[in-house]
Symmetry: C2
Subunit: 211 residues, 2 copies
């Protein structure tokens, strides 16, 4: 006995090797530019072998996205329950920017590419803050609102969350897309992000002088 176990373990290992090779090439060359043949070559298999583990190139990509979504949610969870929700919100922002700057290619896959099915594939973890980074953000925004420190018009956690997310995403995304565009003299992303976050929060605050 035990040989059956070995078989499934070996299967899982080659599956993992495919994922690793695909990630490496996707990150280095981009998704469009890496071919199934290149991935297969990387692990010394035939292209068709991949299809015994993933239904298509797209499904392979989705699996990688799934892993990264979990990684981001884990990074948020590590922030934990900081008492002041506004402080927690800005920590979330920092973690988000860190993630984006450390893994720009993954960031592009998660937030700058349209895959109508990746969210459907993760439907079961929706709303669970340990798996769903957006839920963690929204809950924190709700806590911020609950302190009563925001102006009256900012009473919708969903909308506040979308504003916070959008401002950081915009900065990161533009920076990635227009990185080596000579037209724009980019400032340091982390610094601009921090200033933008502070301004946004101050602008929503009831008493903008006080923090």
């Amino acid at each position: 006995m035990g040989s059956r176990e070995r078989r499934t373990r070996e299967r899982a290992e080659t599956r993992q090797r495919i994922l690793d090779a695909a990630r490496k090439l996707f990150v280095r060359k981009g998704v469009e530019a890496t071919t199934m043949r290149a991935i297969a070559n990387e692990i010394e298999y035939t292209p068709t072998a991949i299809y015994h583990h993933f239904a298509s190139k797209h499904e392979l990509l989705l699996e990688l996205c799934n892993i990264d979504f979990r990684a981001l949610a884990a990074a948020f969870l590590r922030i934990g329950r900081v008492d002041d929700p506004i402080e927690r919100l800005s920590r979330i922002g920092e973690a988000y920017v860190d993630f984006a700057l450390e893994h720009p290619m993954q960031y592009q896959l998660l937030f700058m590419t349209r895959h109508p099915d990746v969210s459907r594939a993760r439907e079961h973890v929706r709303g669970d803050p340990t798996e769903d980074a957006y839920a963690f953000l929204r809950d924190t925004c709700a806590d911020v609102i609950a302190t009563g420190r925001l102006r009256g018009e900012f009473g919708d956690p969903e909308e506040v969350a979308q504003m916070a997310w959008a401002s950081l995403h915009g900065l990161i995304a533009l920076h990635i897309i227009k990185e080596d565009d000579p037209w724009i003299e980019w400032r340091d992303v982390r610094r601009t992000a921090a200033r933008m976050g502070e301004s946004l929060i101050r602008g929503m605050h009831r008493m903008p002088g006080v923090e």
Copy 2:
């Protein structure tokens, strides 16, 4: 004589027909999903005929981007010289959001796709606000700073412009990418954009109560 003129006119006409067909299909199906054969078929030509007018599919795409960049700059120019620079800034924001919502596919091509050469192709209009929408924005931010109404740390027009641009871009881009994502209950983009813009300006303002 004049037949030579007719020839060049006819050439320009087919070139335009190619552009129109390409735009139509790019917008409807997306760039990757539309083939040169489909574009050719649309205007009842052979695929190779296109190559007598554009060197490649990519060059065809770049030409379309060029046209749209000019259209956006023209929309900004139509705002004109509103006296109050803060008022002008928020008008720019409105025009930007309008452009994005009216032409989401074009928006994706211009600001959500990486083409390292489109900016090089437009190098000659760089800094000219009649052709360069970013320059128009930056100049307006400089005017806002010059009023002395912003806090001391917001003295860099480039950085302020990037913050303003980023916040709106983020909202639009996320909305396009995650449009039919069931996880996020999107609010009305124009309303959220307006609130975000107001908050950001108020947060940068020296006297946040006053406008």
